[in-house]
Amino acid sequence: MEVNEKIAIEHGLKADEYKKICDLLKRTPNITELGIFSAMWNEHCSYKSSRLHLKNLPTKGQKVIQGPGENAGVIDIEDGDAIVFKIESHNHPSFIEPYQGAATGVGGIMRDVFTMGARPIANLNSIHFGSPQHKKTKNLLRGVVNGIGGYGNCMGVPTIAGQTSFDSSYNGNILVNAMTLGLVKKDKIFYSKAAGLNKPVIYVGSKTGRDGIHGASMASASFDEKIEEKKPTVQVGDPFTEKLLLEACLELMAGDSIIAIQDMGAAGLTSSSIEMASKGNLGIEINLNKVPCRETKMTPYEIMLSESQERMLIVLENGKENLAKKIFDKWNLDFAVIGKTTNSKNIELFFDDKQVANIPVNTLVENSPMYNRKWKKSKLPKKNNIKNEMLRKLKIKDALKKILSNHNVCSKEWIWQQYDHTVMGDTIQKPGGDSGVVRVHGTNKAVAASVDSSAVYCWAHPLTGGKQVVAESWRNLISVGATPIALTNCLNFGSPEKEENMGEFVECVQGIGEASKYLNFPVVSGNVSFYNQTKEIGIKPTPSIGGVGLIRDYKKMITMDFKEKNNLVLIIGKTEGHLDQSLFARTILDEKNGPPPEVNLFNEKNNGESLLNLIEKDYIKSAHDVSIGGLLTALSKMCIKGNKGIKLKKTKNLINEIEYFFAEDQGRYIVEINPKDSVEVNKILDKNSVHHEELGVIIENELIINEKTKVTIDELRSYNTNWLTKYMST
């Protein structure tokens, strides 16, 4: 087929991009070459709209072994151990085919982690659906949850935490972000940089089929009414094969045969081979007749662009082929020597003894387009004038009931009970807490991880929202007693070609950068997902932050459940009464305007570090960060989990009671201490200039807000636990 501009545009390239290709090659590409360019230059693989801004994120730190640019980030957790982790989106495929889309999202991120030599030890996810009333929501939710469980459960990796939200902005574009943590010895990390000439290039794993062709291009475009036609671009997952691939790769990695290894993810064989060559500044030659194929008569174009799952590309040391083959035979996986490294610095493909592509590697990578897109700055919205008379009319108990049973606050047990969260025998904090926690097998250490996003805040003011998500992730780690180390981000936005959406992206990234720099909480990996929009309607900007922290002695881990009657409950951090953009304002007052709560990074850092200090000294019996729903929501959850109540003191705070109980001011934690430690705890907090107040005393089984307002724990529980189960069963 003769290639021309029209065909290039059908491949998702722009006219000027096609011209650039012709200029770089000094000729017209053939169809296979065009396919390769389109796969490498789409938004998903090239980061052409985001690269310029991502450069500004802080990516270095004392504990960072590997920052962005590899299959995943790596951090040091002492004693020669390291954690490999990353979050990635699988939004577009999951909307088209929820089960397979979500399943292969989980499979893909696990592969990114074990490619680096790490055994996956925990999965997390952040999933966002349209309004509960929308006709597609229920099926999408069911499919996504089944898919995540279907893959993760079969792999035998526990799913330890996650986040689920509903918002009408996701009606036409759900979000599925999957995160994996893996454990590796610091001196056994594998990278994707090829080295040495004439080294065999090995293909292992599943056979190549026609599934997922142009998957990455699909993920780089908006949806329209023809979305059903895109089903064939969704990959099909086989977790059993991936489990075998995991074991086989780790077995091979125990020796010294591998020079470089890269999983075949987005854009399959194309991006994996080109990335390895590019990093090693080498050429690569592949005989496509050697690639194990599932279907007959596959063309070079199809083989290069297939996104069949569970495949890896390895550059091996010479002479290690037989040893490696034996391992893959044992695990019943395909193994084929398909090519070699060369000094041409080109990617050269052969099929039926003919050369079918010959492209300089640097034209695909370094010369890929980079755009400085136009973007619009957001103004901080004016504060709402919420009238006191309006608040006075409301009953606290009614408001609490509505908030606890709100779909974005209610218990998500219906979801996480379908995920195996205890396999591997090291899960010491299950889903439902502030962070999931797994022990580092056979040691006294544990790793905490949390995934967060606050699309409403980011939508109201992207800069503040970006800061807030990082701060919330940091708080969630500290609340379980972990020292935050680093984060991974999944940046889900609308079209970068629209100034408003691009502005949201730029300013959220700026906020993330500021907060992570201030908190010494660097970004070590991540991914960008643009074009989350159907026709003209984009999603609310939704950066998901996956934070990871270390607990040196796992016996010091903190949970949120109230522990003992007569213990004192304090709040750390000041309550100013910020109701704008709170769940209370949005759902009970139906007020959608106003600025999000301010993020004061000095207070965040000071409050968090002071709490860690108290935890280290064993003063803290339980802790929980105050987030969506405010103080009373946080207290209720601690009551429900601990099956204990609390008698609140009359607040000395001058603001209105409703503002006090439901405001979403940042930098706050609720903690439980033994009364005998009260003097000492107050002393430490005062010394560090941390604002704190005593909230009340733990009692048997009632939340006593004041003389007139009492709620039993059973009532609280019924508000909080029933919504999702009921919703899914009707």
Partner: protein, 227 residues
């Protein structure tokens, strides 16, 4: 005491079981499904997971793997064979224990703590255990035990029901049945009580940090009974 854990392609609780057996004093060996001979063992364990992806009926492919011939012979000669979760599904497929395991009643994977009631202590697994109700953990999609009326009568007459799902006080009402199993059955024996298949995972309850230690009680008691 010597134990062996069989690893099938797709097993994923084999390491957890190995850790548990070792912790309570077993000298454990991992055995590959393609091996033919079993090492000398006092106990064989078929671990949980998704053997062969469970793409056919759960456990059905694994029940035909090479090592299973030796496992069946070992069981028939009175050796102790325990199958947990996918291991239970494999045992059912070999016919060493009666019945089948269907998809859970609500068609969902369930991962949670459950209580089970012991029915019969006249066997090596539960003899001398000084607790009647254990808190264990389940994580499965196909644990809905089913058998014919005649089979049910037979296993009841022979005291083959090992454990029932119940609440913390031992009540076996339907509401405490997580997966729709007939009679709340969570585990059963063969006729001679040397083969035990059960859905709950005792190996996930061997540490106070892992929401309980009733699994520890089970393993400690088991090794004492074998000695």
């Amino acid at each position: 005491m010597k134990s062996s854990v069989i690893t099938f392609p797709g097993s994923n609780c084999d390491r957890d079981m190995h850790v548990a057996l070792k912790k309570f004093g077993f000298n454990n060996k991992m055995v590959w499904h393609n091996d033919v001979e079993l090492p000398k063992s006092d106990l064989i364990v078929l671990p949980g997971g998704f053997s062969y992806g469970d793409y056919l009926r759960c456990g059905s492919m694994a029940s035909k793997s090479k090592i299973m011939k030796s496992v069946v012979n070992f069981a028939k000669s009175g050796g102790l064979v325990m199958g947990i979760c996918n291991g239970f599904q494999i045992l059912v497929e070999t016919g060493l224990v009666p019945g089948v395991l269907l998809r859970n009643k609500y068609l969902q994977f369930i991962c949670k703590n459950v209580y089970v009631k012991l029915d019969n202590k006249e066997n090596t697994y539960f003899k001398n255990l000084d607790k009647e109700i254990l808190k264990l953990h389940i994580a499965h999609n196909e644990g809905n035990y089913f058998c014919t009326k005649d089979q049910l009568k037979e296993i009841e007459d022979n005291n083959q029901i090992a454990i029932y799902y119940c609440n913390d006080r031992g009540s076996t009402e339907e509401e405490f049945n997580p997966n729709g199993s007939i009679r709340n059955i969570a585990g059963i024996f063969n006729k001679d009580k040397n083969v035990l298949g059960m859905m709950p995972h005792p190996e996930r309850m061997i540490d106070e940090s892992l929401s309980g230690e009733d699994g520890s009680l089970f393993f400690k008691n088991l090794i004492n009974n074998i000695k």
